[in-house]
């Protein structure tokens, strides 16, 4: 339709009514967002400037002293570093191995459904179930891993009790548990690459490896960006499996940031202090996201 003054006028006149309808449509989401997201976020910021206790005591404004205390709290820094370390350790295999599995399954192995099912199935389990299974597998006395290692004369390994090994053990469990999701994303992306590209490449004399590096991996670029972002966010939020497998031990080597927030607020009763730590953690996540955004933006530019 040609842009005439009449239509512009009509639009202007109709605007309030259309706006109303628009607000109506977003209201269900908007109200929930304000009630359960915005209000708690603002309330949390307010709490972080008070000495509010879980028991209802306190509540006076105490300025920035919670933040000052948190920044000088070695346990807080340690829990943040543990979380970052977990994220680094888990993200790499969760992306690389997921891609490798997807490529293997996509080569046309027989029994496709079986492979997909076996790689994806652990993802469907609840974290409590996964933790319970793996705590038994890792059990130094009766666990499957040490029993098998014992056949080869290896001394029992304290998987979850050795400060140097505990985080790695949790990462192994996490990779086993959650890799199915990334695997499916990659598999779907692989199946979207047109066969004609591979046919053209083979006519030009490209071998399998050449096709992999010149067609497959570049075509998966946007999927990789998405997988990495989702994975980083998921790993930074780690809590359940660590809490259940090690409780944050040994000697605090696996205590995550979320667990420290939980401990200071819910079992340590200090809501104000706990809120301050959660906003410091929030800033950390933003920093990681910005770095991630910079890297991917440069790559796609």
């Amino acid at each position: 339709m040609p842009d005439t003054g009449a239509t512009v006028k009509a639009t202007r006149r109709g605007k309030p009514r259309e706006n109303l309808a628009g607000w109506g449509f977003i209201a269900p989401f908007g109200i929930l967002f304000i009630l359960f997201m915005l209000v708690p976020v603002l309330w949390g910021i307010y709490l972080s400037f008070t000495n509010q206790s879980l028991t209802g005591a306190g509540g006076e404004l105490i300025g920035f002293s919670n933040y000052a205390e948190a920044l000088a709290d070695p346990d807080m820094w340690r829990s943040m570093l543990n979380t970052v370390w977990f994220t680094v350790l888990s993200t790499v295999p969760l992306v690389v191995i997921a891609l490798a599995l997807a490529l293997l399954v996509n080569t046309g192995l027989p029994g496709q459904w079986l492979w997909r099912l076996s790689f994806f199935m652990p993802y469907l389990l609840a974290s409590t179930v996964v933790s319970l299974i793996w705590v038994w597998l890792y059990n130094p006395q009766l666990g499957l891993f040490n029993t098998v290692l014992g056949w080869f004369g290896v001394d029992p390994i304290t998987w979850l009790q050795d400060p140097d090994l505990a985080m790695l053990s949790v990462v192994i469990t996490t990779v086993w548990w959650t890799i199915g999701f990334n695997f499916l994303l990659y598999l779907a992306a692989l199946q979207n690459i047109p066969d004609s590209q591979y046919e053209a490449a083979s006519l030009d004399g490209a071998g399998r490896w050449r096709s992999l590096f010149s067609i497959t991996i570049p075509q998966l670029g946007s999927t990789t960006v998405m997988v990495v972002i989702l994975q980083l966010l998921a790993s930074l939020k780690v809590f359940d499996q660590i809490y259940q497998m090690t409780g944050g031990g040994p000697a605090g080597t696996t205590r995550s940031a979320i667990q420290y927030i939980f401990e200071t607020g819910f079992t340590g009763f200090r809501f104000g202090y706990s809120s301050a730590i959660s906003y410091i953690f929030f800033v950390l996540i933003i920093v990681v996201s910005v770095i991630q955004f910079r890297i991917t933006a440069r790559r796609s530019a």
């Binding site: 028991t55 031990g249 040994p250 605090g252």
Partner: protein
């Protein structure tokens, strides 16, 4: 920490129980306004009480039976039980319910946690005169247990039991090892070396270990043994907000060193959690087990001949670590007088019938029950009843007690010592520094 065997049995954290607990909390919250109106309705004459506790597994079943018995006896009281998962899930929810002023009418807590709660106004004190009306008085409890109920001169908790950390022993193994006396009890050991010798005699019989115990990822088990040995030195630990911890360093180090000697791979396993320990003892592959009285039922189901006693006094002063399940009145902004009275009546009737609670291994706190000849027939319960005179609760502070983070801090610092990765000095120093940090901050319960 999360898989520790606890009084109450079973793992402390399960999704289903959490969900059930959450549902009960929300359900309870939604129902309260309507129920409050009709709970004491003249038409039925029945007072309904809400009752929260953290007893699951076998203890939970026993408690449900006791509650049903009380309801039958009283006739005019009906009790709604809400069972929440042991530890943090229970204590955070109870604290929030009390802080909101709409708490249950009566609840169970650990005696060691009351110290941290009472000054913050989370609990209402019991009325001594009203208690006396229902035959609950100072004379009906052992002094240590009764006194533990007081904070700032007011009685905040009335104990149902005491559940000490004790020693089970396999009588067949002990007999074969020649360490059993003619009366069926173990030979007396009064020094650490004597105890280790006795354990080695038993190890020679079982071929595996002399003693079963477990501490991996389990601050509670680690702390219970440590505190038993520490208190046997006659030493004290004072934790007061605003001051560094007062403790006896030599006693603490000596206890830790002895514990590392036990987990040498011969006397006891080096890398063992308490589930391994119980399985080992129940399978006849060791002569002794250090654990809580709440394991009694599990061991009775195992096919072994065993008895139990308090842990031998190795450092001169008889002492055992213990805690108590106690009844408390969570703070209500507007308590209903009829319900309050019903809560007293419910609690005292339950105490009087607590002989069945002894079946689960716990030592009933209400003396008329323990003094009844029926209790002497309970074996091995009667053999460790003396523990009620020797018990030591966690050093009082707002952050200590069963299911608190305190025991996890101990685990964080001491597990490495047990595994031989760090010295007892380093482990103890790291624990004390952690505790001193907490003590240097204001108490958030009374803030």
């Amino acid at each position: 920490m999360t898989r520790s065997r606890q009084p109450g049995g079973g793992p402390s954290f399960s999704r289903r129980r959490m969900l059930a607990g959450t549902a009960a909390v929300f359900g309870g919250a939604l129902l309260t306004p309507t129920l409050a109106g009709c709970s004491t309705s003249a038409a039925s004459g029945i007072t309904s009480l809400s009752y929260w506790h953290l007893l699951s597994g076998g203890d939970g079943i026993t408690m449900a039976t006791l509650v049903a018995d009380v309801e039958k006896k009283l006739g005019n009281v009906s009790v709604d039980q809400t069972v929440l998962a042991w530890g943090a899930p229970y204590y955070t929810k109870l604290a929030m319910a009390s802080a909101g002023g709409r708490a249950p009418d009566i609840a169970i807590m650990h005696a060691s946690r009351v110290t941290g709660w009472a000054p913050g106004g989370l609990l209402d004190p019991w009325d001594l005169d009203l208690l006396a009306e229902f035959d609950v008085t100072e004379e009906t409890f052992k002094p240590r247990i009764w006194e533990k109920g007081f904070t700032d001169g007011k009685l905040y908790s009335v104990a149902l039991d005491s559940h000490p950390f004790i020693m089970f022993y396999n009588t067949d193994v002990a007999d074969e090892a020649g360490v059993l006396r003619s009366d069926g009890t173990l030979i007396e050991t009064t020094t650490p070396d004597e105890f280790i010798d006795m354990a080695l005699e038993m190890q020679a019989v079982t071929g595996q270990h002399g003693l079963s115990w477990g501490y991996l990822n389990d601050g509670a088990q680690l702390w219970r043994l440590f505190y038993t040995l520490y208190k046997q030195h006659g030493a004290d630990m004072v934790l007061e907000t605003g001051k560094p911890a007062e403790y006896d360093k030599d006693a603490a180090l000596e206890s830790l060193e002895f514990m590392t000697k036990l987990v040498d791979g011969t006397v006891a396993a080096t890398n063992s959690d308490i589930n391994n320990g119980i399985a080992e003892f129940a399978g006849g592959r060791s002569g002794m087990l250090f654990s809580g009285v709440w394991e009694l039922r599990t061991l009775q189901d195992a096919d072994i001949a065993f008895d139990a006693s308090t842990i031998p006094t190795l450092y001169g002063t008889p002492a055992v670590y213990a805690d108590s399940h106690t009844f408390v009145l969570p703070h209500q902004s507007k308590p209903d007088e009829t319900k309050r009275r019903a809560a007293y009546e419910f609690m005292s009737t339950l105490l009087k019938g607590s002989i069945d609670w002894a079946g689960a291994g716990h030592i009933p706190a209400y003396l008329p029950v323990v003094n009844d000849p029926a209790y002497d027939d309970l074996i091995p319960q009667a053999h460790y009843a003396n523990a009620a005179d020797l018990i030591n609760y966690d050093p009082p502070a707002w952050f200590t007690g069963s299911g608190s983070d305190f025991q996890n801090y101990f685990l964080d610092s001491i597990q490495g010592v047990m595994l031989g990765e760090r010295s007892p000095e380093a482990g103890l120093a790291s624990f004390i520094s952690r505790i001193n940090t907490l003590l240097s901050k204001p108490n958030p319960v009374t803030a």
